[in-house]
Amino acid sequence: MEDKKAREILEHYKYEQNQLIHILQDIQTEYRYLPRETLSFVSRELKIPLSRVYSVGNFYNAFSLKPKGRHLISVCLGTACHVRGGKRISEEIERVLNVKSGGTTPDQEYTLETVNCVGACALGPVIVVDGKYHGQMTSAKAKKLLSAMKDSGGNGKNGKNKKS
């Protein structure tokens, strides 16, 4: 199967074997995960054994072999955030979204993950939503943030429809 987007990415990196991680990063950004067929395609085109591509894709946290949601919520559970109640916040979000940490909602909208420090300990507890940092988080604030996202999520969907 020809994978146009993957082909473009491979061409951009001139099919160089040592660019594997960059290539996988771009594929991750493009598809929000690493699809199996794409990994096989990359392995064939770069002439790197599939077992190697698979183990690289599996090794780094930045890669996911399962589809991730449109919105990524990372709850920091580093030491500082943890002692200030990061755990409670992640549990609250788990309840609201009805998804376990590391999981994605069935509608593919949200992925919840916990991370071990985002380097903003003074703001703790921190949650990062689609790359935006929200400090001094509480379960109540997290709930508000989620419902605000859900409301604008409707708009987001419209926007998505416009694109397609």
């Binding site: 199996r36 990994l39 054994p49 599939l50 077992s51 190697r52 591509v53 698979y54 183990s55 599996n58 090794f59």
Partner: protein, 256 residues
């Protein structure tokens, strides 16, 4: 040539040979699990840990614990201890950890017992576990067979040897080199209904029968692969070991 003292024996060694190579040459025994002479060293199992002291300019020794399998000898006057109390204590700890991971693997149990380790203080996660993640199987598959059908996957607790996506791999020809080389016997091969199965990688390959005696000659994929690599004629590659030897013997005698 460099001067080396190993367990009090004075010897000479070529630069860049490993401590393990030198020890073998001198008949000094160092235990190994993840090492094989034909395959790149990896230093995964740590049981070959020895003490190496490099003389400093002030005449004192700077002693370190190093893995003999991948430590190249580069310094003149290096002093190596393979049986000092520190080395043995270290090795016992490593074996205890390995024993906690694989409490029922015979090779690990035997080696640990040799060093007086009969029980591990550490809890075992899975008493069935036999893999020590030394990567010999993945290295033989890549370097000797040239297939790279399996690899070490995941990190930390989740690390495992798997075929891609934990599914039957197109690349695995069921040659069994991984099972042959595995130091702990963690890789299981079975023959069932004319097929060779490697359970760990979910491989299942048809076995071919010998053209002469009708016994299994090996997995078809393997014979095909050997045929291509060695450019063998059709009537040779489809024979079992015994018949092939007989046939070649006859031909050799006839041609003499």
């Amino acid at each position: 040539m460099l001067k080396v003292t190993i367990d009090g024996i004075e010897a000479e060694a070529d630069k860049e040979i490993t401590i393990l190579q030198l020890a073998k040459k001198l008949g000094v025994e160092i235990p190994t699990l993840c090492h094989h002479d034909a395959i790149t060293t990896y230093g995964a199992c740590r049981v070959c840990t020895v003490e190496a002291g490099i003389p400093r300019s002030d005449g004192k020794l700077r002693v370190r614990m190093v893995t003999a399998c991948n430590y190249p000898i580069r310094d003149n006057g290096i002093v190596i201890n393979t049986k000092s109390e520190r080395v043995l204590a270290n090795r016992r700890m490593i074996l205890e950890l390995l024993l906690a991971r694989c409490p029922n693997a015979k090779k690990i149990k035997d080696l640990a017992a040799e060093y007086g380790v009969l029980k591990s203080r550490f809890p075992s996660e899975n008493p069935e576990e036999e893999c020590i993640l030394c990567g010999l199987c993945t290295r033989v598959c890549q370097e000797i067979i040239g297939k790279s059908a399996i690899s070490l996957v995941g990190r930390g607790f989740e690390r495992k040897v798997l075929a891609p996506f934990d599914e039957p791999s197109q690349d695995c020809i069921a040659c069994g080199a991984c099972a042959y080389i595995c130091p702990t016997g963690a890789i299981k091969i079975e023959i069932e209904d004319g097929k060779l199965l490697i359970k760990n990688w979910k491989t299942s390959r048809e076995l071919a029968k010998c053209l002469i005696c009708g016994e299994y000659a090996g997995p078809e994929a393997v014979l095909q692969y050997i045929k291509e690599k060695a450019a063998l004629p059709d009537d040779i590659y489809l024979l079992c070991d015994k018949c092939r030897r007989k046939k070649l013997q006859k031909e050799l005698i006839a041609s003499a």
